[in-house]
Symmetry: D2
Subunit: 160 residues, 4 copies
C-alpha cells in the first residue's frame, strides 16, 4: 500500500472501574504500543470460549512493551446479572489476568465506549495502532493467524 | 455382581428456587427414573466447558420418561457474584434448558444439599437409581462413554 | 422390552491378515462378549479423527473379558495406497493397539466382510451381542454417550 | 532491530516428484514471496492433526502472490508404507490441495532436503524470506498467532 489512508483516531475509553492494573489506563498512555482490545460480556459464550482466551494468548505471547491487551466489559443486556462484583469473580476463576475495564454505563442501557465505537455486539475485537488510530474492528470470531498477522503489520509499520 | 449391595438413599434436595421447570421437583417425584444431577457453579470453568454441556447432551439424548436431568447450583464461594439473577441470565445465554435448582444457603457458606452429599467441589456428577438410591458421585470430569454405560446399567437393572 | 426380537446372526469375518493379536479371532471365539467392531480405512479422515480414537477408548475403558474391540480394514478405494504394509505403520504410529483385521479382498474391489454386512462406507460401527447376533450398525459418527449406553444394554441383557 | 543479521540462504529443494502443481517449483522461482514449508510424513499424527491443517489455513488465508505454501514429504521411517502412491491418496482424501514435493531419497534412509536442513523430525515448519534466506525452522507445534506474526514481519520488511 503506497497511498496513506487517513485513519481516524480511536475514541477515548470511558471507564467506571479497572481490574488487573494498578494504574488507570488510557489510549493516550498507551501510545507507542499496538493495542488489542476485546469488548466482551462475561455471560457471552463466544467471548468466554474464543475471544477472551485469544487475547489472553496475545497477552502471554507478545512483549508488553510492544503490545497492550485490554478487556472491555461492555454490558448492554442483563445488567443486573453482570455487575463488577460478578466480573471480578469471573476474571479470577478463569485466570484472565490482563487489564480489564468496565465500560461506563450510558443512558439507554448501551455503555458509552461501546456506543462511541458503534459496536454491533460482543465479542468485538479492536486494533489500535501505535499512534492511537483505530485500524480494525471485528464483530465475532477472528482467526489467530489473521490476528498475529495484523499485530505484526502494525508493529513493523511503526518501525519503518 | 451377584451380591446385592445395600445402597443408601440419596439425600433430599434442599432448594430455594427452581429454573426451567413449571413445578418444583424432588427426588421422590422422580422415582422410577434414573436421575443425572450436575452440581455446578456458573463461574466454574470446568462446569461451563465440560460438565454442563455433558448433561445437556444427556437431556437431549435420552427419553425424559426414563432419565431426569437436574442442574444444582451449589455456590460455596463468591456468593455475591453468583446470585439467582446472574444464574438466570447465564442459563439463558448458554441455552441450558434442563431444570436447575438453586441449592439452599447454609450457615457456613456451604449450601445445604452440597453438604448433605459431602461434595468436594464443582463440578460433581451424581447418579441416582430409579428407587432413589445414590449410586455414583464423581468430582471432576467423567467420560461420556462411562456415563452412557452407567445410565444404561441403572435403567436395565430396574427393568430386570 | 418384553417381546423377543429375532435378531439375525452377524456374518462371519473374512480376514486375510491380523494385527495386534497373537491368535486369529472369529466371532465364534468371541461369544460371551459384546463385540464392538470399527470398519475403517486408514486414509479416511473421519475414521482417523473420530471412529478409531473412539474404539481405542472403548478398548481402554471396558474389561476385555466383557467387551471385545476389533478394527476391520475395509479398503474399497485407493487399494494400492492402503496395503497391509502401510496399515501396519499406521497402527504403530497412531498407537492403535487393539486387534485389527484386514478384510479379505473381493472380486469387485469391495472386500468380502464389508459386502456381507452391506456397509455403506467408512467409518461403520457394528455392535454384536454375546450370542453373536448383529444388534446395531452405524455409518458415520456415533456419540460416546450413545455407544456407552448400548454396550451396557447388551451386557446387562446377557446377565438377565 | 537495527543491526542486519547475516541470514544464510535456504538450501535448495531436492525433489523426486510434485503433487498439486502443474509446474515444478523451486526456491529460486519463489523469490519475492514468503515461503511457508511444512515438512511432514503422512503417517505422523502431529502432522495430520496440526501441521498440515495449519499450512492449509495459511494457503487459504494469504494471497498466493505474497505467500507460497509447500508441503515436503520427508519420509525417514516406514519407507515402504509411505510411497508416492499412498501420499497421493492421502492428499486427495484430506483435501490438502497446496503444492507438495516428495523429498528425494538419500543413501541412509534420510531424504536429501531433510538432511540439508538438518531437520530433527516431523512436523518441521520452515520460513524463507522473499530473498530466499532461511529465517525460521521449528520442530513440533507452532502457534497460529506466532506464525501469522512471522509471516507479516517477513512481508513488511520486504516492502521497507
Amino acid at each position: 500500500m503506497t497511498t496513506r489512508q487517513p485513519f481516524a483516531m480511536a475514541p477515548d475509553l470511558r471507564v467506571s472501574q479497572w481490574f488487573n492494573t494498578e494504574e488507570e489506563l488510557s489510549l493516550k498512555k498507551l501510545r507507542g504500543k499496538v493495542v488489542v482490545m476485546e469488548a466482551f460480556q462475561m455471560l457471552c459464550p463466544g467471548c468466554v470460549t474464543h475471544g477472551l482466551p485469544q487475547v489472553k494468548s496475545v497477552f502471554e505471547t507478545f512483549s508488553p512493551e510492544q503490545v497492550a491487551v485490554i478487556g472491555l466489559h461492555t454490558v448492554f443486556e442483563h445488567h443486573a446479572a453482570m455487575t463488577p462484583t460478578s466480573l471480578k469473580a469471573f476474571l479470577f476463576e478463569y485466570r484472565f489476568d490482563f487489564p480489564v475495564a468496565v465500560d461506563e454505563a450510558g443512558d439507554n442501557g448501551m455503555p458509552k465506549t461501546m456506543e462511541a465505537y458503534q459496536m454491533r455486539g460482543t465479542p468485538s475485537l479492536i486494533l489500535i495502532d501505535t499512534s492511537g488510530r483505530l485500524r480494525a474492528q471485528y464483530f465475532g470470531q477472528v482467526q489467530d493467524l489473521r490476528l498475529g498477522y495484523e499485530i505484526a503489520s502494525l508493529l513493523t509499520e511503526a518501525r519503518a
